[in-house]
Structure formats: C-alpha cells, structure tokens
Symmetry: C2
Subunit: 216 residues, 2 copies
DNA sequence: TAGATTGTTAATCGATTAACAATC
DNA sequence: TAGATTGTTAATCGATTAACAATC
C-alpha cells in the first residue's frame, strides 16, 4: 500500500485536517474536488496537497480531481481510523470526564471501556454510563480487555508512573494530557497534548499584535 | 529587545517546552545549565537551543552557560507570561469545567473571570467559586471587564458564532477547543487546539508500530 | 591564563513550491 | 479531441546542524 517507508511527521499531522474538511464536504453533498479548490478551502497549497497524498498513492484522476468520499476513506484508512480502538481513562476528574464525554458526543472508532481513579468518592459513580473503577485494578483490566490506548488525565506528578503501569499492562498507545513529556518504550506510541503550551503561544501572538497596534 | 522582526512559529512553539524544563530545574535547585546539558534533557540539539535563544538576545555567558532562573524569566517575558490575562469560558460543559479547573490547579497568569452557558440548568451554579452566567450577557461582560482571552468550549456547531461574538466584544485572543478551525480577524490571535487530530496521529503511529512488529 | 561554552556564520538537510509531462 | 487536472521531477526556500571564532 505505501510507496515510501518514511513519511515525515509534518505530513501525518496534516492528514487529520484534510480529513475534517473532506468530512464537511461530504456532509454538504460535494462529490469531487480538485487540489486547487481544496487548497482554497484548507489554506494549504495545491502542490502540497498533491505531494502529501502521493506519498500514499495516486488517489486522484487527471482532468477530474479527487472523489471526496473516496479520498476521505483513503485518509481514514491511512490513519487507521477504519479500525476500532478500546481506551481506558486514568483520572476521572473534569478532564477525564471531558474526554469521555467528547468521544461519546463525536462518535468515532475510539471507545472508552473503563475509567479509573484513586478517589473513593468517584469510584462507583458513572460517567456516560461507564462505571469509575479503582485505579488499583487498572493493569488487570487492561490485560483482560485487550485495551489499545491509555488516556492519562491525572495531575502531572503521577503521570509518568501511570504511563509506566499502562505500558506494562500492554497498551499500544498513550494519549497524555498531563503537562509533562511522558517517556515510553519505542513500541508504545505517545501523543503528549500540551494544552498549556498552546496557551503560551497564544499569549506570544497576542502581545505581538498589541505591539504592532501600538506602533501605529 | 528583539533582534529580528520575524521569528518562525517553530521557534515560538519550542519556547514553552524550554520553559517547562527550566521550571523543573529551578524547582530542583539547579542554578546554571549549558546548552549541551539542556540538549540532553530536552532532546533538542545544543545548536538549535542556542540558535533559538539568540533570536531574542544573548542570554548566556561564554565558558559558563545559562542561568536557569534568568533564562526562565527571559523566556517568560518573551512569551508575555510576565503579564496577567483575564479569560472568559464559553461553554460550561465538562471541557469548560476542565479548563477552569486546570487554570485553577496549575496557578498561572491566566485567570478565569467568567463562565457562560445557554443551559438554564447550569446558569447560576458555580465552578471553582466562579458563577456560571447566561450566554446572552457574554458581550456585555467582556466589554465591561476588559477580558483578554475567550475560551471556546462549545460544540463545533456554534463555535464560529461564539468566536465572532467574542471578537466583536473585543478580546485579543481566542483559545478554541471545538473541532473546527475558527476564523478571526488578523488582529485577534487564535489557537485551535485540535485534540482529536492528535488522537488520529496516535492511531497512525500505533498502526506503524504494529506493522513493524508483524514483519518480524 | 587555560578551559569551557557561548554567539554566530557557513554548510547541510529537508520540506515546500513551481513547473510540466502524463493522462483522464 | 481539447481542456483540465493529476502525478512527479526539479528548483527554491527555510530550518536545522556543524563549525569555529569570540569571550567569559
């Protein structure tokens, strides 16, 4: 399927964005789109779009463009979104609840199968119909239910420890929301979502704008 | 202060990460660090670290290295984190609550001043001591309280509309968590935090790992 | 002073854009 | 067929890395 072995991360990070726009087009009933039109919509150059897609195969048709639905499906398959994933959430605080809620609201192939916390007040309650369990049992649960992804929604102080436990239990991926960089063995994929970093970038750009405004 | 007018976004995005590591060093009581040691810690090359910092000024000392606290303060100032920011949160669901909670827990210069929702069941309740108000009054509130940043925690369907309202009311920045790309006038800085995109990248990397494991 | 490490210029590498031949 | 638009190669641009003179 793949034409090239090593695809740069920059390309991979653009794929979900392409897919989102294709999904919108699909909903609007648009059948086909050219790289030029898609460029106009997404803000990426037509050249880059074609270049990116041709890392994986020739999905278009000369003189015509790309099938919206076809391309959507191709990108979904490249990302592995044609498969299902079972997740556990470690930490049933507001962030954990938000994640559970989010995956519930925007139905996708990622299914929260278990939620865990150390707080006795939370254990036994349910979030979107899923029972919150004792964190002590997380390894056992992951092993028995073949969980694919661990979601870390704990405070940063315990995040690495939780990650180690989840890796030991056999997850293939970690989705970390604690504001630290989680270290994992190379065979466990990890995404550190640094929400606060983006807020700091925002502050920088706000101040740039303000300085520019003051100069006038 | 700045030596150069145009700093690339790649550089800006590394600054919060540098700052996080410096903060950890500070807490451990480390006084100074060389670019070599910092490289080892952060995973960036020593060359890149020095190159990045020298976009803003010579913060180090030859033969010695960088003062941990001094550099932390410099980066904070570059990002504008020596200032305070007032935020309003639009959407008091789980995600909105998580943001309020997060800024409360990790005390920073970003202060949530108001929370707004359309749901009558939520209006009047409090989150971390902050009253949830009627979304109808958000523009008035932003204008009267000189709010700097609007945080969008609504479903994607209403996100752009909320953004337009906040821009009209006079915020300088938008921090968007809805899974759409918000469009704003150039003088309003925007960070679209695409949580789901990172999950899709994670799926890609998980499948890469699995394929590699199967080949063996 | 000698040693260490920065600041900065030059070289390399990779990613983006432009151009155009292939083809539907 | 003629027109349109892809797939792909070549050119450009920018970002990262290497090297080293400056200097604490």
């Amino acid at each position: 399927m793949s034409k090239q072995t090593k695809i740069s991360n920059a390309v991979i990070q653009r794929l979900p964005r392409y897919r989102r726009y294709l999904n919108e087009l699909k909903k609007k009933g648009v059948d086909k789109i050219s790289s030029g039109e898609f460029s106009h919509l997404t803000g990426y150059t037509a050249s880059q779009i074609r270049q990116d897609l041709n890392n994986f195969g020739g999905f278009g048709q000369q003189g015509y463009g790309y099938s919206v639905e076809g391309l959507y499906n191709e990108i979904s398959a490249i990302l592995g979104l044609d498969k299902g994933y079972k997740m556990v959430v470690a930490g049933a605080g507001h962030l954990g609840q938000a994640i559970v809620n989010h995956t519930y609201y925007y139905k996708t192939g990622f299914i929260v199968t278990g939620i865990f916390d150390v707080n006795p007040d939370l254990i036994g309650t349910t979030i979107n119909g899923i029972r919150v369990m004792d964190y002590e049992n997380i390894v056992e649960f992951v092993e028995e239910n073949n969980i694919d992804i661990g979601v870390i929604c704990t405070p940063k102080e315990t995040a690495q420890e939780v990650a180690d436990k989840l890796c030991f239990a056999g997850v293939d991926g970690l989705w970390n929301f604690a504001p630290v960089d989680i270290e994992t063995p190379s065979y466990v994929a990890t995404e550190n979502v640094h929400i606060t970093d983006s807020l700091h970038s925002l502050a920088y750009h706000m101040n740039k704008n303000r300085e520019a405004a003051n100069k006038k």
